[in-house]
Symmetry: C2
Subunit: 261 residues, 2 copies
């Protein structure tokens, strides 16, 4: 694949691995927008957040190349993949980093744990317009057909107007037939958390081990301006995500609290 | 260890592992404030961010117990450790989650990658007052002596006044003699990122592999209200960190942008 000066260069990744239908769908749609480089793992790496591989070396393999597409397998996390693509593999900085389409929603606090969103955040840290897409369906056989239109609409909008520095998008798409989706809703991250998070078991030697599991609890189910509300009411939720985690509103109070310390 | 109704119950963790001097220092200081439960890994788990262990079971082992202290080894990430302690191991929800003292600073965007800060963020997600402490020195032999006073001061302040829901603290301490530290400065997260992030090598079979490395670049070295500035000017930086990553200021513009989509 030769990347010309006028080509839009798009880096794609996910945390469900190279054989996930969500990434396949995203790759097909994004080829309408430019030259595509895909980097991901063979196996899934869900729940990796912004984790980095610091104690092991990272391996990368070029799996496939055509005139419009290049696919790399990377042994690292989604964040490693974006870093190594931008720093080592790509001829130039990509115009977009697009991640997903994740099998399963990444609304509310899931943005903090999600490898899919971490990849978008990583792109954003490099000053690249970045979006993470997720479908509200964990199944490997989920139908990504209705999602195509919304991926197209959102990326079309970004091709007309860039995102501000330091902000990327977290897009969650309901899992239902096309005609039931009510449209796009710009939202904020819902307040919530996970509870009852472990299943305790005994191994064949009688020793205890735990599996991570749990139930998400929306702390504000009545609020209509959250991503959780939008998604459960069949809207595509779009949350602008900031890489600045400072609680700016609280700086003044905290200064008073630490004044005499 | 028996946890009485009036005891302050403090959960401690880090990402440098159970044998790190930073955790040892933190454990000693925090025993002045209440009953302490320590959970961490045997080996270090740096750069883990908010990663979860979803594909492997988690093992926990009680290593030591006295009248005032309990120490668990956990096979998971710092976030897993907090989750399993709160959900499975502790008699009740802890009053504080305190993480660190990390060997190495976690200022600026490092808050996003840090396992130490992830543990504090995890505590915060459970509605627990949580703080991550880091010393600006990566060495295993770093001198944590001067840090003790500031850990004490900050936790004393929190014992008088709770943090707001959804906000935890990211505290970075300069690595210099006590008399050179100028005091505590409440700051915001500096804008910056990492560059030249990989070292490319050949293995004995002649195949390429990469090590993650890199140089941090502060995008605003002149700004005096950032954590990077404070730390390099020998202040203890305190940044209030929000678990809500929504870029609230951009919601209005984004609504306009997606109005006709």
């Amino acid at each position: 694949m030769k990347i010309e000066k006028d080509d839009r260069l798009i880096l794609l990744t996910n945390d469900d691995g190279l054989y996930a239908e969500g990434l396949n769908t995203l790759t097909e749609v994004m080829q309408e927008f430019g030259k595509v480089v895909v980097i991901s793992t063979i196996e899934s790496r869900s729940g990796m957040s912004q984790a980095l591989t610091v104690k092991m070396p990272i391996r990368v393999k070029l799996l496939k190349e055509t005139d419009t597409k290049r696919i790399y397998a990377c042994s690292g996390t989604p964040t490693d993949g974006v870093k190594i693509a931008v720093n080592q593999l790509l001829e130039r900085k990509p115009d977009w980093v697009v991640s997903g389409i994740n099998h399963g929603a990444n609304a509310s606090v899931s943005v903090i744990y999600s490898g899919t969103m971490a990849a978008a955040i990583e792109g954003c840290l490099y000053g690249i317009d970045s979006v993470g897409f997720s479908l509200d369906n964990f199944s490997a056989q989920a139908d990504f057909g209705p999602a195509r239109k919304y991926v197209r609409d959102i990326m079309n909008s970004l091709s007309r107007k860039r995102l501000p520095i330091g902000i990327c998008l977290n897009v969650n798409i309901p899992s239902c037939p096309d005609q039931e989706i009510k449209g796009i809703k710009v939202c904020r991250q819902a307040k919530g958390n996970w509870r009852e998070e472990f299943e305790k078991r005994k191994d064949p030697m009688g020793k205890t081990y735990y599996w991570l599991t749990g139930i998400f609890e929306n702390h504000e189910p009545e609020s209509t301006d959250t991503d959780e509300w939008a998604l459960s009411n069949k809207y595509v939720s779009v949350v602008p995500v900031s890489i600045d985690m400072t609680a700016h509103n609280f700086i003044g109070d905290l200064k008073k609290q630490f004044k005499n310390v």
